[in-house]
């Protein structure tokens, strides 16, 4: 690659204005192409003629027997469905939905692509176009008419495939629901499977449910009493205290150039603790209170900003005191402090917002209230606390966050142990009052279970669920749930506790030999249900919008290319952005290449690095103008029984407007300049 080209690509950063205002360029194209360049055609525009051209296009496609491909797709779906080996009914229906949607999408997209890409070249070749252009129709009407014709073909195919999908799915679900009814008769069915199958027996296999997520997930060693009594279990939970600081809050206060006795910044800790039964170490006393480890986490990137060791590097305290801060015991009513070194202060001011993370020692509970950690500015060097001078400070920005130990699947919630029964709390705020069935509101839960005890134990995983109404502070009786690893479990809670729209779901793990992993999306409230057919219709509508996009792109390409090349280019345009996004190419890939292939040759590494980076930027630039087909993917949602929201329908429509409309305008401009008849 030439240096000039590299420079060119280097400068060609993704055009920021276009990203910020995605509608500006498309609107300009439409305005200039249609309303300026094609102003006369706009004045002569007749929708009747457009519809007639679309009808011709549609009838031509029917004559070419494109609809015959739908029975083939149906046969394919039936054959593949018969070869599936589902675990149970819900799995069978999910897989069948996937097959149906896959077949429908393939058939409709391919037909849209082929018909749109071949129509114009074929009409030019067999001179059918003469009969159109010699009539008083404008090129704008031809362009729009053809696109409408293609969309009518797609719609017809979608209607046929949609009706087949609904019919076939109902047939399959009827068969499976009978199986489930029989299966439920089995006395040896375990509790987890029973709960799972009972849900589908009651609600049917073809579902569309709207879910609501909790706003926040916290975990405590004990259930808090209102806004106080937040206890953290050492060894298995941690606390994050959020802070927001302004420039000058910390660094100036800790300026070493200031005179002796000048102000410094400190973290001040006030963390009472309790030893668990049997957890005290021999000879325990206040002087050997349990330790707390501290580090500072960047609130935006979640990476460690300042480690405990870094905090210990400066100051007058001994390193062991700094690395392992001894919290003041409630009995002593004192406090522990740590001086914030100047460099750390600057770093924190630069970060702006951060968390102070506290990690305790096993066998102890720590109370972490809002005042557990504060930033004080003053002079606290005097060993006599009475002489401490605090002239300012920064309080925590918000309530402390207490979490379970983190794994890659979420926060770990342990079972009861030595009198402590940790509780995870999902908070729902301003939640629309959900539909109740027989006074119960349904929820779903999907968790990861790890056995920590002897694997010979056959005790099933058991969770106790409760709901707490935040208005009345009333707590419901426990509902027991038997979940299975990574499988959705359905359960219900009394509706009367959810009526205020502000409530918390309390989750306790009843099995001490097991740990469960929870994350924000593990527990979901089923807020509403919709008919499956309506949801399917929305899914097919989105698929139709996609076929329309494909048809527009293919027709556009066919205005200046032969049809085989037009097909290939259309695929590149439609799939280009999706492919690049999936390849996950980002900056730094050039350095990786260079490091891998030229670890010792610096000159070659530099060239490769620059070239690859420039190519990456070029690729990013190109993909910035290509359509993102991600929002058209709704199959997974339908197969999992999730409703398609209006927002999800709006997104593909937006893409069609922002990309499809200008491409249609370009197609019109190209067609208007194309010599299609002598």
């Amino acid at each position: 690659m030439s240096p000039a080209m590299i420079n060119l690509l280097s400068q060609a950063e993704a055009s920021e204005p276009a990203v910020q205002y995605p509608w500006i360029i498309p609107a300009a194209i439409v305005l200039l192409g249609v309303f300026v360049y094609g102003f006369r055609d706009v004045l002569r525009f007749s929708f009747g003629r457009v519809w007639a051209i679309g009808g011709v296009c549609f009838r031509d496609a029917i004559r070419r027997k494109v609809l015959w491909i739908t029975p083939l797709a149906m046969v394919g779906v039936v054959i593949v469905s018969q070869l599936q080996k589902p675990i149970d009914g819900p799995d069978a229906i999910r897989q069948t939905i996937k097959f149906c949607f896959f077949a429908t999408a393939i058939v409709v997209t391919v037909i849209a692509l082929i018909t749109a890409a071949t129509n114009l070249p074929r009409e030019i070749e067999n001179r059918v176009i003469f009969t159109i252009v010699t009539k008083p129709v404008t090129r704008l009407e031809i362009t729009l008419g053809k696109i409408i014709g293609f969309s009518r073909v797609s719609a017809a195919m979608l209607i046929i495939m949609g009706l087949f999908t609904v019919g076939y799915l109902h047939l399959r679900s009827w068969s499976w629901e009978r199986s489930i009814a029989l299966e439920l008769e089995s006395p040896s069915l375990n509790a987890s499977d029973r709960g799972w199958l009972e849900h589908f027996h009651e609600q049917g296999l073809l579902q569309a449910r709207t879910i609501t997520r909790a706003g926040r997930l916290m975990q405590y060693a004990k259930l808090p009493e209102g806004n106080t009594g937040r206890w953290m279990q050492g060894g298995s939970q941690d606390s994050m205290i959020p802070f927001r600081v302004e420039p000058g809050n910390l660094a100036q206060a800790a300026n070493p150039a200031a005179a002796a006795g000048a102000e410094k910044a400190y973290f001040i800790f006030n963390i009472p603790y309790e030893a668990l039964p049997g957890g005290e170490r021999p000879g325990d006393a206040a002087a050997t209170a349990p330790e707390v480890q501290i580090q500072i986490i960047d609130s935006r990137s979640d990476r460690v900003l300042v480690s405990g060791e870094q905090l210990a590097m400066k100051g007058t305290q001994k390193p062991d005191e700094l690395q392992n801060i001894r919290p003041a015991s409630a009995a002593l009513n004192g406090f522990a402090r740590i001086e914030i070194p100047r460099a750390v202060g600057q770093q924190l001011e630069q970060a702006g917002s951060f968390y102070v993370q506290l990690m305790g020692q096993p066998n102890y509970l720590y109370r972490v209230e809002k005042d557990a950690v504060q930033i004080a500015v003053g002079n606290l060097d005097d060993p006599d606390p009475a002489k401490a001078q605090i002239i300012g400070g920064v309080p925590p920005a918000n309530e402390p966050i207490i979490r379970g130990g983190l794994s890659n699947t979420g926060q770990q919630l342990r079972g009861p142990e030595r009198g402590v029964e940790p509780v995870a709390i999902y908070s729902f705020k301003n939640t629309p009052i959900p539909q109740s069935i027989n006074g119960q509101v349904p929820f779903e839960l999907k968790i990861v279970i790890d056995r920590t005890d002897d694997s010979e134990s056959d005790d099933p995983t058991l969770l106790a669920m409760q709901v707490k109404d935040l208005k009345s502070q009333k707590i419901s009786p426990q509902t027991l749930v038997y979940p299975e690893n990574r499988r959705t479990t359905f359960f219900s809670l009394p509706a009367e506790y959810l009526q205020s729209g502000e409530f918390e779901i309390l989750v306790r793990n009843r099995n001490s030999g097991q740990t469960i992993s929870l994350n924000e999306s593990a527990l979901l409230l089923i807020a509403d249900r919709q008919p499956f057919a309506w949801n399917l219709f929305k899914g097919l509508f989105i698929l139709w919008l996609f076929s329309l996009l494909v048809a527009i792109v293919a027709f556009f390409c066919s205005t200046f290319l032969s049809w085989p090349i037009a097909v290939v280019l259309s695929i590149l345009i439609v799939l280009g952005k999706w492919t690049v996004l999936n390849l996950d190419i980002g900056t730094g890939i050039g350095a990786q290449f260079a490091q891998e292939y030229f670890p010792t040759n610096t000159a070659a590494a530099t060239v490769v690095n620059q070239s690859v980076e420039a190519l990456t930027r070029g690729l990013t630039l190109v993909t910035a103008v290509l359509p993102d087909i991600g929002p058209f993917g709704v199959t997974e949602q339908i197969e999992r029984g999730g409703t398609i929201s209006i927002q999800q329908v709006r997104e593909p429509l937006k893409i069609l407007l922002v990309f499809g409309l200008p491409v249609t305008a370009l197609a019109y401009v190209l067609l208007r300049n194309k010599e299609v008849a002598p």
Binding site: L83, Q84, K85, P86, I87, D88, G89, D91, A92, R94, Q95, K98, S175, W176, R178, S179, I180, A181, L182, E183, L184, E185, S186, P187, S188, L189, N190, A191, S192, D193, G195, V448, I449, D450, R451, S455, E456, S457, D458, D459, P460, T461, L462, P477, Q478, T479, L480, V481, Y482, P483, E484, N485, R486, Q514
Partner: protein, 585 residues
Amino acid sequence: MNIRARLPIIIALILSLIGAHFARRATTEQRFVLDKSRGESESKKGNLSQLNSYALGLLLGGLRGPMLMALWTTSENQKNDRELEDFDTKVELIRLLQAEFDGVHLFQIWNKAYNISVQMANVPTKYSTILDGMDYAFSVSAERTDNINILAAIGGLYFDKFGGAAEKAYFSPRLMDETLPAQDRVRITFPLARRDEILNAARLTAAPSYLLTPREVTKDAGKLYISLRKPAADLLKARVNAGANDSAVEYTQRPAKPANAGAEQGRRTEHDPILDGNYRVLPKFLAPREGVAATGDAADGSELPYLKRFEPYPIGVSPYALAYNYYKRCQWLQKYRQARHAQMSDRVISVRPALALKKWSEEDWYAARRAEIELLKLPVPRDDAELEPVTQSLKLDAPLVKSPLLDEIIWRYRNSSKIADAAVAEYLYHLKPGPEGGDFPSDEFTYRSHLEGSEAQAKLVLADAVYLEAITATGDEKLRLARESAKYYQQAANLFARHILRFYMGDEDVPDVLPRDLRNLNRGDVGPGSNKMQDWELPFSLAKLRAKHLASNWQLQNSDDFKEINSYVERCYARIATIDAFLKK
């Protein structure tokens, strides 16, 4: 190009096609011959998997290879990511598309039964996942009948997973229970406060232990429930209610359903029943293959030909019994059809039936021991090696009440003895040289200790059975049974003592432990059947060896083995002493 120029190309193409046809036919015939030589019979079913690679390749437009690559990659990724949706379908498609490759099937059987089952959190789900692996193996077996690889894999699943896995305390009783004919079940709901009372009473009905882990009633806090077979529930009701109307304990009957009803389309959750109402193997499992005369062994193509000799099975068929059946079929195929396993050596295939019988007899032994301890309401040790001393001091006049649990214990002891004797015979067959046996005499060193251990065990558990019968008997019958029991205990003690001295004594200990005039004897001279060392000398040698272990603070090389086997001997001596004391009274 004119037709004359094209002619040679056309002729060459036609000749190539004809050549390809004959080459393919020759290889197909060659494979058929090889299949026959491996002992495989003709397939039973006709479906996609019966199409060969060539036909499938044509059917899929040459995309069979890429499709398989995608299926393998995605299914393995899903397994690693623990996202198992569609996984079974993908594995099924791989099975259908690669039906000819045993290696694929062996991998997938292992994959499901081991790799996937361990990803399940709860034991019942693990159980049904292993059953799914088993179903896979049976599907392949139905298409590739008498395939030694698949049959050995089925035997392996029964042996290693249902019989020997860490969760065997759940798997094995459940499998045994499900092989019994279907019966109505009763759900018994009771208050938490009466947990121990209900569970103890339920155990006395001989309800399998896996059913006695109560579950909490999800919609009624403070209540638990268990589900039992109706006869056991009736016994429990009679015992718990004792004539009074006990409304705190609720009994809800649920009708029996056909095996796996409702699961015919999905993953099954239960093993199929194998037994009829008389606890005998259902005729369909013993029926020979169509057109073949019944021979009672693997030659007739029946599914479970080797289980008939051990009928009846009043508490269900052990997974080891099923493993024995399939291993025995493999052994027969290897011996009489010259079938060769792809991964296991001939000697391993030959000895597996003996190992299965040995494990089966030990399973009954330990299960009966545990039940005996439960019957006496004593704490049950976790480790099998610690079971012996717990009940050894049980008196002959102990107030043991007859109960289904006691009957089961006695049956299991007797069955253990019977199966241990069968294991001995099976080991001898394996070691026997020439065409009359397995022809592996060189395995003598490896399996002699198994064989002699089983011989001793057969006597010990027989003595235990007779001892328990003596406790519940009265008058002369009690005395007769006590004497008979003492005789078996003595035989067991002698056999175990010789077993220790022969296999679990260091060479350096021989001069100190064996009687002085026998020091120049080799180890084989102290084994059973040898008259060079008298039975009366055994306790002294054993005591000397024990003293050496004690002196080393149990740090000798064989200390753990010695301790375990010596506990059997001590049990025998303790019981003999009890019987002697009783008889003297």
